[in-house]
Amino acid sequence: MPLIGSFALLLALALTAYSFLAGILALVREGPSSARLSETARRAGIASFAIVFLAAAVLVTAAFQDNFSIAYIFHHSNRDLPAPYKFAVLWSGQEGSLLFWSLLLSAYGLVLRLRYKTDPRLFAHASVVIAAVQVFFLLLLNFAAHPFAIMQGSLPADGSGLNPLLQYPEMVIHPPMLYLGYVGFTVPFAFALAALIMRYPGEKWIHITRRWTMVTWGLLTCGIFLVMHWAYSVLGWGGYWGWDPVENASFLPWLTGTAFLHSVMMQEKRGMLKTWNMWLIFSTFMLSIFGTFLTRSGVVSSVHAFAQSSIGDWFVAFLGVIFVTCIFFYWKNRSHLLSEHRLESLVSRESSFLFNNLLLLVACFTVLWGTLFPVLSEWVQGTRVTVGPPFFNRVNIPVALLLLLLTAVGPLLAWRRTSAESLKRNFRFPALGALVVAAVLVAFGMRPWKDVSYFYSLMTIALAVMVALTVISEFVRGGRVISGHTGQNLLASMVQLTRRNTRRYGGYIVHFGVIVVVIGFAGSAFNQDKEQEMGFGDKLTIGSYTLVCQSYTQDDNPNYGSEWAVMNVFKGGKQIATLNPERRFYKASQQTSTMPSIRSSVSNDLYVVYEGQNPDTGRPIIRAHLNPLVMWIWVGVWIMIVGTVVAMIPNTAPVRVMAPARVQPAPAGAGD
């Protein structure tokens, strides 16, 4: 079994290297033989998917067969590990996750190579770029992090087991989502670099990659929120985002990817910001590689980093190669990226995209700086200085508020320039709505002057209302126009409106999801927590809830032993739920983990953790958190996913091309 896996990895490397080299040769040489060479390169790329898939299948099979002769299986599995986690062994350790990266990349490459007829020459260039990235990962797998390395000495009877933190249902889906997002950015990167290398005329490459970019962005978004949900449900500290380096690593490409999704519209619509967009997608790809490097190298310590190794040098070298390649081709073909138009006014749709991009990049730089600060400080001063959440929040919360403002303002501005009359016409209703909501919140007891976090919460909710009203007004106004033409009711007209321009109205649905998420974030300003020792019948009161300890119970299964509390929850004197916070002891890895018990409602989450027993008194310790509006975050994500899916659906009714009446062709020779 390990022999077939090792052979598959070597064969995949040979095929990918061939795909890369033959692909380059075919593009450089002209003539009939180059077409055949190019076809063999394409086929080698396709075959590499089958071979990498075989290697991954061998590793998963070895996990199910408890083949502990393979060191990776020994270190990340054990006989009593439940089946879904044995499947997740593929991405639970360093070597496996690199193989998984490679598998996903080859799958993306497969789709790209099968769809080459869209534009064979552009796809051939993009295929070479993807093959180059794949060569790097296969070199790593073959020579630095071999997943089929054999155990030395006598064969162990059982494995060390999977890290307990990873034994959670979401762990089976969250890394694939995140990796699909990370890896997926290779595709727009490959097309962008390909378009630059071949001085591709026009923006069709953006149309080709639009869906890839949206799928990738959507998957990365899902991955990030699954990480948050996993951290919330498993780590037991009561929060969902701690500005941990690995969380930040996934957030960085999301920020630049979001900026790209917005600014690329300026290139499509008006032929502007070509250099900016090119570097945005280059940066997004490099940050994806950087994220993988942070997660896998052990250069920063994190609750999400499950590997310590020396492959960091490989990643640093690879990042250097990518950067030099991008710089080289940019410098060589920079004249190809000249803008077709200039920014005409600061009050325009273009400028709102530009400001949106600048803010996203400020956030990206802040997160990058804060993430790397411990490494840089150690490098410069010899002492590792870490920066905590206050640093990130101080910059990113105001930036997020400004972004929210732009989300409200942007869709209402016209391309090119917006007059004062137009501003007045479009902003009156959303701005008034935001002011009314802010006044109502103050009237109901919110005191923004007492604490800066309250001020931020109030601003967040007011701006979120403004965005919501903007989105609603866009749907209603567009729906009315269609309703006027077709006689349909407003709701049906709004559905038709969305189907006519899915990208735009899907985008508005995403914006709506974002505001639901940020309202959830705003709730964190009012978090409460309490900790106390609780014997049978003891009470703990937090907010409007009272917890009464009913009993403590123990259980045992082959994988872990557990101990949990039975807590009755009362509200207004009436029992509304029973919570079971739990502590587990995993036998194979000899590690303990907590499983918080959560009662979610629209207004708040009651989050209860069983911390274990006080060593002095022998009494169990219970910690309770009251986290307002957390459910809004998870609901908002679903809305964002729906919006992304809508934006990817092709428009159903392409509007007829009408010749503009006043257009007169200029004298021949006016063009170049």
């Binding site: 077409a35 086929r43 396709i46 071979i51 026009g202 009359e421 106004r477 257009v663 200029a666």
Partner: protein, 104 residues
């Protein structure tokens, strides 16, 4: 071990056959030219005009703004159309020249 080796040999052979055995003709596709780019650009400008018209009907802009933006887009469309017309004429002349040369 022997079975594993045989499996590896089979996989390698099948892969080599798939990669290097190329029966039939290959699809090369058309080359992207300045003219095809301009035709795409024309569609984009028309789409921008349609969007503008729709937003005006939705009541987002006053009439003066709409007329100014429409004029600007129409000028952009005119420039693109003139270049398309010029390149098509050059292409026609070149094709006619080739035909004449072939007859001579």
């Amino acid at each position: 071990m022997t079975v594993a080796l045989m499996a590896c040999m089979f996989i390698a052979t099948a892969t080599l056959v798939y990669v290097f055995y190329l029966p039939g003709t290959l699809y090369l596709g058309p080359r992207k030219t300045r003219l095809s780019f301009l035709r795409e650009r024309r569609e984009t400008v028309y789409e921008n005009l349609r969007d503008l018209s729709f937003e005006f009907k939705a009541g987002k802009f006053p009439d003066a703004d709409y007329q100014a933006m429409k004029t600007s887009l129409e000028e952009e469309a005119a420039a693109v159309l003139s270049e398309i017309a010029h390149l098509e004429e050059v292409a026609r002349n070149s094709a006619a020249g080739n035909k004449k040369g072939a007859r001579v």
